[in-house]
Symmetry: C2
Subunit: 297 residues, 2 copies
């Protein structure tokens, strides 16, 4: 904490002195210290490392939060068994050169119990992951908004950047929507999915998979990669989504929840002026739910 | 705007120079410029003047917003006929010595239409005024949160105070709740109700009343004053709420919507450790809905 503050102050002092050294110089926009923020639920993996690296490249100070947020877990979901390894996480964060780590107890984030006033994610929060997990995105946005107010606001308005992995594409879309709708004075930076060598998108929940399940799960990323190839070579109309759905459903031990191609801003079917089209899917392998996505045009 | 910025910078410069003049001095908490913010829907009256005066006393810079927020009006409510008088308002604000005035067009506050992501006011938002006006408090909190992010955040965290009139007691409770639940880094300052000489609580909606209606409306504040007297002299148990309800209902031209005594933090019946108990009521006089409240212990 002391180091990080010193770094902010040093950056500001530099700005001030650069500004004052030559009173006749043209006024320039002062360079102020920026804060890069990576909110996580811990159980850090190389996907998180990539987010932190990006934050490090683009900012003077890097903050990471670790908080397994009960609001975003439904009844019967894996809140209790979600992997928690604070000691390993802290060692990694030290290694990554992170300046500020925020690991609040439940009572610090939600004193007096769960919050009464919350963020409501609207229609986009009821689709796909929101349909499978009612209330999930309200819980995500409620905690992310609060973390922004606690961690990023301290850097000052328009001095913060927040980093989110593109694996949770709907979360990225909703956080961007919230930042716009609430006029939160920071920038959301999505970061591309990081994959293991076999193609599986990195996720803390991959630790739930036994070797057989992990092998079965690969049908997800491989099918998305085929769709991407189809889209890039034959165009949007040449994509055979039904065949892809069958391919996943036919895999032993895998249940397909959904596979759709959407505009990743609206999560509706892409329209003529959509900038991107993304194939996104959720499967169940044993007791584990996995999601993944890839742009197809 | 230029003046206000200059004032913030001057205050900060003072702080810095005071800090640097004697390197051996004991470190003190630097005095930084603070911002007092009064969000309004315009049609300013002496109640607003009191909020602004308080903001002026307690802060270096005062900002006022004027925005008639459609999100907080239900279908069939008075959004279209709500009094709008920007020229008179601006003249008053100049007179009051306000530094920053924010009068956004609808398209500035809600570009692309109404926001998808909103603030949800929870159970407290469905009681009393929320029961009579479904969605009202979600709309209030959504715009207040956004105004905080636009206007107050610019001053920096923990440098802002926001002023709200106690007439809208439930609004005050919900904004305080939101600021706590969201960890918004500013302080909410409730300001006591301002009344006309006849006792009527000031409200922009009083302009809807004709002279007969205005006379009839006085039963509201007079009845609340009686309850307060009963409470102060005989204690909570000595308050006859039913008689008070009858007194209002018996007045020609007045319909009672509700009259209850509540803990103004929870809006539930006061309990042993409640700090305050407040009588709050809503009536209809002709086409106009009026609310008022008074502490009774």
């Amino acid at each position: 904490m002391g180091d990080a503050e010193a770094r902010i102050h040093a950056a500001e002092a530099e700005t001030l002195s650069a500004h004052r050294s030559d009173p006749d110089a043209e006024p320039t926009t002062p360079r102020v210290a920026t804060l890069g923020f990576v909110p996580t639920m811990g159980a850090l993996h190389d996907g998180h490392a990539t987010l932190i690296e990006r934050a490090r490249e683009q900012n003077d100070v890097v903050a990471v939060s670790i908080f397994v947020n009960p609001l975003q877990f439904g009844p019967g979901e894996d809140y209790d068994k979600y992997p928690r390894q604070p000691d390993e996480d802290l060692a990694l964060l030290r290694e990554y050169g992170v300046d500020i780590v925020f690991i609040p107890e439940l009572e610090v984030m939600y004193p007096g119990g769960e919050p009464l006033v919350r963020v409501s994610s609207g229609r986009l929060g009821t689709m796909f992951e929101g349909a499978a997990r009612p209330g999930h995105f309200d819980g995500v946005l409620t905690v992310v908004n609060k973390l922004f107010n606690v961690v990023v606001a301290a850097a000052g308005p328009h001095r913060g950047r927040a980093y989110f992995g593109q694996k949770d594409a709907q979360q990225v879309a909703l956080v961007q929507r919230m930042v716009a709708d609430f006029a939160i004075p920071l920038v959301v930076c999505p970061v591309a999915i990081v994959r293991d060598d076999d193609g599986l998108a990195m996720s803390s929940r991959n630790s739930y998979l036994d070797p057989e399940e992990r092998k079965a799960a690969l049908v997800l990323s491989r099918t998305l990669a085929l769709l991407r190839e189809e889209g890039l070579s034959r165009g949007y109309a040449g994509i055979d989504v039904d065949a892809a759905r069958e391919r996943i459903s036919d895999r032993d031990g895998v249940d397909l929840e959904y596979l759709e191609i959407v505009d990743p801003k609206t999560f509706e079917a892409p329209v003529e002026n959509s900038e991107r089209a993304t194939a996104l899917a959720a499967i169940r392998v044993g007791g584990t739910r996995l999601i993944d996505n890839m742009d197809v045009i």
